[in-house]
Every structure is written in C-alpha cells, then in structure tokens.
C-alpha cells in the first residue's frame, strides 16, 4: 500500500517534471485545449446571461386587453366585473386611456410627438395577471377574452418571452453539441500527445516490460500526464472565460446604463467552474488511457 502510494507520488512528480520539461510544446497543447473548451463554455455563459435577461423582462406574464373605441364607462365596469369573476384571472387592473397616454409619454420620451396628436388615440384597457403561467393556457384565456363584446384586441405579453425561450432551448442544444465535439477534440489531442510520448520513451517502456513492469505501472505516469494536461487546459479555458466578461463588462455596463438598467454579465459560478475542471481532467485521463491501451500492445516483449 505504502509503495503503491509512493509510486503514485513518483508518477505525479514525473508527469509534472515532463510538463515543465518541454514548456513551450506543452503550453501550446494546453492552450489549444483551453481555447477549444472556452467555445462551448462561452456559449453556455452567453445563454445563461440571455436567460437571466429574459427572466428579468418577462417576469410574470400579463395580458393586455384593449377595449373598442366606442366602449363607455358602463361597458368597462361590466367587463371589469366579468374579468374579476373569471377563475383563471388573478388580478385585473383598469387602465383608463388618460393614464395610458401619460405612461406612453413618460416611458418613451415621445411627449412632444404625443402633444401634436391633439387628441388621445389610445383606448381604455385592462392589464390582467393570470393565475397560470403556462403559455398554452394563457393563449386560450387570451382567445376567450378576445371573443367578449367591446374587446377590440388582446395582447399576450409573454409571447416574445416564449419565442426567446424556444431560441434559448435551441442554443442549449447547440452548446451540448459543441461541448460534445470539443470534448472529443480534447480526447484526441491528449491521445496524440501521449502517442508521441510513448514513441519517444519507447525504449524505457520496453526495458521496463522486459524486467517485469505491469501495464498499470507503465501506464500510470502517462495517465497522470493526460489528466494534468486536461486539467491545465480546463484552467486556461476558465481563465479565458473569466477574462472575457471582465473585458466586456464595461461596455455592457455602459449599454445597460443607456437602457436605464443595472444589468451585468454573469460569470461562471464556482461549482460550474469546478465541474469544468473535473470534466476536462477526466477527458484528458480518458484520452491518455485510450492511447496507452492502443500503444502498449505494440510494445510487447513477445
């Protein structure tokens, strides 16, 4: 047991020495892995940001109900009663046309333009907060209300959020695909590095086998090397990923300020970062293992 641990320590030290022994070549390998990893990670991070953004803006889904231009006070209060009695409606707020116009002036800075209109073009309306958030039920409720008398138009507020959601789901699929492909690339890179190492250390492996080394013994330092290389690549990928948003955050903050928002880019969370490191290390190990399985057989003393 003690010797087993000591051999592991020895293998680890030797792998570290070899990583440091050809710093430039290894640096480039690690950089390639890091850059490859940063692509799907960057996309993932971008998606998380979009998701955060969409959650901010969509909030609770609302229905905007616009009354017909000829609807009067009585129609409006009748409609209000009907809305409030509806089982799917949580809250309904009456928005008289005057208030809507003030809102429009305030929110868009179009006050001057509105002044020139002379009269208020907006109808009375309701903002309805439904009990359900499910997009299909919302659409059903919208259609039902649209069929009521004196209702001119129903605007489903969450429609664009639903579309964004669909796009985000597509993006997530893309991230998975890209992560799979580049994960494969990481395995391939490690496979190749280890192959080259096996070739240059062929003699040592051969001699070790001749004097009774087991395959596990020979494999171990190479597995450590692959794992360390994957780990370092993952580290570089994370570094790129942290550096990117920091670099962009200034412009994002500027942009957000212009839109009167305090939105900031999210960074990868620490558990996510650790998962990336673990994943890249595991893929490095896998590449090294596959390479050794392939090449150890070629160097058999028999």
């Amino acid at each position: 047991m003690k010797s087993w641990i000591s051999h592991h320590r020895h293998s680890l030290a030797e792998s570290l020495r070899r990583l440091g022994g050809a710093p430039l070549a290894n640096l480039f390998n690690v950089l390639v892995i890091g850059v490859a990893l940063s692509f799907p990670l960057g996309l993932y991070l971008g998606l998380s940001n979009l998701q955060a953004l969409s959650a901010r803006f969509s909030g609770d889904p609302e229905l905007g109900i616009f009354l017909a231009a000829d609807a009067d006070k009585a129609d409006a209060s009748q409609l209000e009663a009907r809305l409030k009695a509806h089982p799917a409606v949580a809250r309904a707020r009456f928005v008289p046309k005057g208030e809507a116009l003030e809102d429009l002036k305030r929110a868009t800075g179009l006050a001057d333009l509105v002044e020139t209109l002379g009269r208020n073009p907006l109808p009375d309306g309701f903002v309805v907060l439904p009990k359900q958030r499910d997009p299909r039920e919302l659409a059903g409720l919208g259609r039902e209300i649209a069929g009521w008398p004196k209702v001119a138009h129903v605007q489903l507020d969450s429609e664009w959020a639903g579309k964004l959601d669909a796009i985000l789901r597509l993006g997530q699929g893309l991230v998975l695909l890209l992560a799979g492909l580049l994960g494969f690339a990481l395995v391939a890179i490690t496979f190749n590095t280890i192959r080259l190492q096996v070739l240059t250390r062929r003699e040592e492996i051969q001699v070790s086998k001749l004097i009774g080394a087991t395959n596990a013994f020979i494999r171990r330092p190479f597995l450590y090397f692959g794992t360390l290389q994957g780990l370092a690549g993952g580290g570089i990928g994370l570094l790129l990923l942290y550096a990117g948003p920091l670099f962009l955050n200034r412009s994002v903050a500027e942009l957000a300020r212009l839109y009167a928002s305090d939105f900031r880019l999210l960074l990868l969370s620490i558990p996510d970062g650790l998962a990336v490191l673990g994943f890249s290390a595991a893929l490095g190990w896998l590449g090294a293992w596959l390479s050794m399985a392939r090449h150890l057989r070629e160097i058999d003393p028999r």
Partner: protein
Amino acid sequence: MISFSGVSKSYPGGFEALRGVSFSIAAGEFVCLSGHSGAGKSTLIKLVAALELPTRGTVLVNGQNTAALRPRSAPYYRRNFGVVFQDHKLLFDRNVLENVLLPLRIAGVEAKEAAKRARAALDKVGLLTKEKAFPVTLSGGEQQRLAIARAVVHRPPVLLADEPTGSLDAAYSDAILDIFRAFHQVGMTIIMATHDESIPRGGPVRVLRLRQGTLMS
C-alpha cells in the same frame, strides 16, 4: 527448477534458432551456454524469461509452463529473473543510480529501502562512486557492470546473462566472472551465454554447448 523438453523455436521467415533442445537445470547451478553466435544462446535465455515462447516443446520453470502464462501474470513471472541483455538496454536519459532503481520501483520497493539496495548493488560491481554519472560517460566495461547491477538489484533467484563479457578484454572479463561467482556463492542460479574461450575455469561450472540450435552432449 528449469527444464526444457523438446524445445524448438523458429522465427518468422523460417529461421530455426533452436531444434529439439532438452535439458534441466537445478537451483543453485552455474551454467554456461557456449557456442558461436547464431547457435541459439540468446533465444534460449529469452525462452527462460518468457520473453519468447517456444514454437514446439515446453519450457517449465518451477512447474510453470511459460506458454501457459497469462499476460497478467507474465510481469510477475519475469521478476524472478535478473537479465543482463546483450545490448545492455540501459536508459541513457537517466543516471546510474536511477537505472539501478528501476527494477525496485517496478517491484514496488519503498524509496528509502530502494536507494539503500541500489547503492549496495552498485558497490558490488564497483560503481558506487559513479552513481550520478550518465551511462554515456561510462566505459564499455562500466556499462556492462551497470547492467549487472540492475539485473541483480532486486535479488532475483536466477540471473540470466547474455554474453556479459562479450566485448570486453580479459581483465574486465575476469572481474565480471568474479562478480558472478560471488552471486553464485550466495545461492543464485546463473545461466550465462558466452563464447567458448571465455568459459570460467575452476569452480563448479556446468557447460551446455549449442551448435546451430541443437545441444551437444
């Protein structure tokens, strides 16, 4: 301990290195395989350490048929032997001490103990002062002695040496034979391939003569 019965070995291309060789060697013997180059000495040594398998016949070592060794147990089987290869097979990217440490690392000997044993082995072959030197800087005789130190450092019961005195002058050869005799005296079984003229004189040495793959009586 070691017994060959009807052992033949032919290589791809049809060359027959050994033809129907039978003999047995008891534990503690000092055996010289003599014969010209190409007589089959190296092949015989490789067959004992299961570095080659016989084409026909059986090689039994301590009751183990080498042809029946599973790949998993072959490494452990090979640790029963110290092999001095004809071309030494030293590792030139590491120093003398590290070369000798390799078999101990493979056997899983703890670092401190391993260093002690490696130095003891180097001391026996007179290379203790050169432990930090790299093999390229050693003379032919020193490289040979380094190969011997590496072969015996894990105290194998059997030492297999393929022309350990091959390229050396008489004084070096005698020094190496003395080393072998010392190992033999502490109970090691020794099988040494050699040219006819350098068979050690004196001492209990048994000679097996090979000619073109067959054993002369």
